[in-house]
Amino acid sequence: MDAINGADTAWIMVSAALVMLMTPGLALFYGGMVREKNVLSTIMHSFFILALVSVQWALWGYTLAFGPSQGGIIGGLNWIGLNGVGLEPNTDYAGTIPHQAFMIYQMMFAVITPALISGAFAERKRFKAFVIFSLLWATLVYAPVAHWVWAVGGWIRGLGALDFAGGTVVHITSGVSALVCALVLGKRLGYGKEPMQPHNATLTILGTALLWFGWFGFNAGSALGSGGLAVSAFVTTHLAAAMAALTWMTASWIRHKQPSVLGAAAGAVAGLVGITPAAGFVTPSSALIIGFLAGLGCFIAVEMVVRGRVDDSLDVFGVHGVGGIIGAIATGIFATKTVNPAGADGMLYGNPGLVVTQIIAVVVVALYAAGVTFVLLKIIDATIGIRVTSEEETLGLDASQHGEVAYQS
């Protein structure tokens, strides 16, 4: 059995805390972009999921995602309720840290993924429907896909697809599901007819800063150790975010005649999403190029969604769905074993087959996430109802769903 390494364990615990902070950061990021009457409900989506999915993960989510594989499809129930998940390392995943450290680190990924979706149904989803949807989605979409891509024996992992920190597992699943949510729920009342400006851009910028900060744990922590690979992922993460922020801001400057502050923030997030699957497999110069591609590609995607009159309220599909797809394919192009011998060479290093493998992973995961999300939404709508009444929507979800208001005038 491998010995527990103190430095590795410390880094993973810090990384878990960093990733945890991303969810409240996301709450502020989204909360600033909605109207004043919906800020608390939007923040509550992320904050509540932090608690809900933490409990779900401990009880059955972790074992479904990482338990001994059942035919490559789902984990067995061996670790239900964290039974058998102790302080000795699990050498299948991380041989130098306690198994519980790996589990709690992965928990934070499971938490933030359904929270990302909430940006698509902001300002119009019933809280009760949101709770049921999030619980079912974390169980029926996140856990199986995490198993396919990351677990020992997972069938997509077996194909050789690379996903260092969750471009496919986190961002494509949430981004595609967000698009389905937006289409099924329909537009907000008054969409396209009345202004729906962000009520507090400073909240959004603060949220972006917390996301960027936390993303170092998300990506560099995915090295599952504190050595050179973690440093490499840290560097590529920062460079891609910076390049994408510059690119999106420039694109918005050209398109809308002024350099948008919110655009720079969204660009940084797009770059962080784009580098996520590649962070531990690519060089710093590749990270800059991926950042550029993610910044430009996500900007164009968001423009197209808005032009298509799809009310993906907070641009979840354009940033996380498209950013995740760009990142996954870019991993197939730019990956090199000189950075990570445990990875694979991509197209630029003589292995075009990796691009094909990455595309297969993207298509399968996107179709699965979209299909299950659609079915879940339809079942919830038919049973408990998914959307607030028009009166509740007009009043605002803070007052109608939670009986509170964010600001006392």
């Binding site: 396209g192 007819k193 400057w253 350099p259 630029l348």
Partner: protein, 46 residues
């Protein structure tokens, strides 16, 4: 020099050129806090 480094330099140069060529802020371009009726909803692209 690695071709990827050259590509990175070229992309950054393109951004620099865009910043120099981009319009400077003016009242004419400024958005009012209250968008006109019928305006597109807020988006992070804007």
């Amino acid at each position: 020099m690695d071709v990827l480094i050259i590509v990175s330099l070229v992309l950054f140069a393109l951004l620099l050129i865009a910043w120099v060529a981009a319009p400077t802020g003016s009242v004419a371009h400024a958005k009012t806090e209250e968008a006109p009726s019928g305006a597109a909803p807020a988006s992070s692209a804007q």
